[in-house]
């Protein structure tokens, strides 16, 4: 003789199955979803710190200015004496067509040099570098000084007339 709730066993069994399923879902979800997921939005908050953690390769011109502010080349005491001969200090800030260039635009990434000052800054001046900006090609705005290599300067290296840190030649300065 069953009681009034004699068939409740069926309901309890179904409820148990749901309860176990819900528990399993919560356990799996807890294991798979990072604890900081959703803190700021539908993403893992720690991803912001991951994105910040990359090493820096281009140090930025402010770092260069700490030692080399304003003038370059001969002022650098770390340079070998022979590199200094016949060179005036180059004033980067006045009367200089290249003053808006930041160091790493030509020298490449220098964070390694900032970290360890014994690591030298490579001399990079060569015709390919100069022509990267100054070769006459379709598309380049007229305001940019451009040359056809060979027509201008008889295929002599650019640096035979122009010093990269102050490119106007002595004649041009008048």
């Amino acid at each position: 003789m069953r009681g009034r709730f004699g068939h409740a066993g069926h309901v309890v069994r179904v409820a148990l199955v749901f309860a176990v399923g819900a528990l399993a879902f919560l356990i799996v979800r807890h294991a798979l979803v990072p604890s900081d997921f959703g803190k700021y939005g539908f993403y893992r908050a720690g991803a912001l710190d991951d994105a910040r953690a990359r090493p820096i390769k281009y140090a930025g011109s402010k770092a260069c200015d700490e030692c080399h502010a304003g003038t370059y080349e001969p002022d650098d005491d770390a340079k070998p004496a022979k590199a200094k001969k016949d060179l005036d200090p180059v004033d980067l800030l006045t009367d200089n067509k290249h003053r808006q260039l930041r160091c790493e635009a030509c020298h490449g990434p220098l964070a390694a040099h900032i970290d360890d000052l014994d690591k030298p800054v490579a001399k990079v001046a060569n015709d390919k570098l100069c022509l990267g900006c100054h070769r006459e090609i379709t598309g380049r705005p007229k305001s940019q000084p451009q040359v056809v290599f060979g027509d201008h300067g008889d295929k002599d290296p650019c640096v035979s007339c122009h010093r990269p840190h102050r490119p106007r030649t002595d004649e041009e300065k008048g």
Binding site: F37, Y40, G41, F42, Y43, R44, A47, L48, D50, A51, R52, A53, R54, P55, I56, K57, Y58, G60, S61, Q100, L101, R102, E104, A105, G108, P109, G132, C133, R135, I137, T138, G139, R140, P141, S143, Q144
Partner: protein, 254 residues
């Protein structure tokens, strides 16, 4: 003595009023450079970029520096920024000739422009760090997101490589990293801008055509720039809220 007392009171007032982190940042905020404060707060910034087409000379410096700084694969097709050259026939501006050999990484070869009859210019492209970015909306696992300071980033540890975002971006700014088979893109050099540096591409741009801007910084020259220049974003009809503003953008640019 008087000035000592005043300094002491000012300092005390600052600590009481701006307790903790804010007082450390205060001198940088006064100097008009809050991004240099040691305690970077995402809510204080809203990053974007301005690109002046008239100044771009197609040197490819930005493309090379970006790949170097961010360890982007050298394979063709993997670019966080690239430069396109447009050659537009003034009589058929809707059909421009566009070339971008290796994204401009190796510079640009000469192309035909008989008698200078075409309009030609360079257009640097990059992620527009959209405020309503379609690429983040389609990500099924929350691997890509808009950061609170307005940068669209990727969590590589969660990306499945499903490529939805690559298809969703109307600007073609995403690629699949062939080494990890996950999506990747421009981070606006998040590791640099959160430490007071500019992006690698802007750092090496020889003419200053690219400028990193912080719209929440009242001292940023961008506010003056936006007032005094005719700026435009790419594909405004897509309503993406793009935050890369171009000066002198030609109507033929897609």
């Amino acid at each position: 003595m008087e000035s000592d007392r005043r300094a002491f009171l000012l300092q005390s007032a600052r600590y009481v009023l701006l307790t903790g982190a804010a007082s450390v940042a205060w001198e940088h905020i006064l100097a008009g450079a809050p991004q240099e404060a040691p305690n970077y707060r995402t809510t204080d910034h809203w990053w974007g970029m301005t690109i002046d087409i008239d100044k771009c000379i197609g040197s490819g410096n930005c493309v090379r520096a970006c790949k170097e700084e961010n360890d982007v694969p050298l394979e063709d097709g993997c670019f966080r920024t690239w430069v396109e050259r447009y050659r537009v026939d003034p009589e058929h501006p809707e059909h421009p000739l566009v070339d971008s050999p290796n994204g401009g990484y190796d510079g640009f070869p000469e192309i035909d422009n008989p008698g200078g009859k075409y309009k030609t210019f360079f257009v640097p492209k990059m992620c527009n760090h959209c405020a309503n970015s379609p690429c983040t909306q389609v990500c099924p696992v929350g691997a890509t997101f808009d950061s609170p300071d307005g940068v669209v980033l990727i969590d590589k540890s969660r990306c499945l490589g499903c490529r939805y975002c690559v298809q969703a971006c109307p600007y073609g700014c995403r690629y699949i990293d062939p080494r990890t088979h996950t999506a990747d893109k421009c981070t606006l050099c998040y590791h640099r801008i959160t430490k007071g540096l500019t992006t690698a591409c802007a750092e090496v741009c020889p003419t200053g055509a690219r400028q990193l801007v912080d719209f929440k910084n009242p001292a940023d020259p961008v506010h003056e720039f936006m007032r005094t220049h005719k700026v435009h974003v790419l594909k405004p009809q897509m309503a993406t809220g793009a935050k890369v503003y171009y000066n002198a953008l030609d109507g033929s640019v897609r």
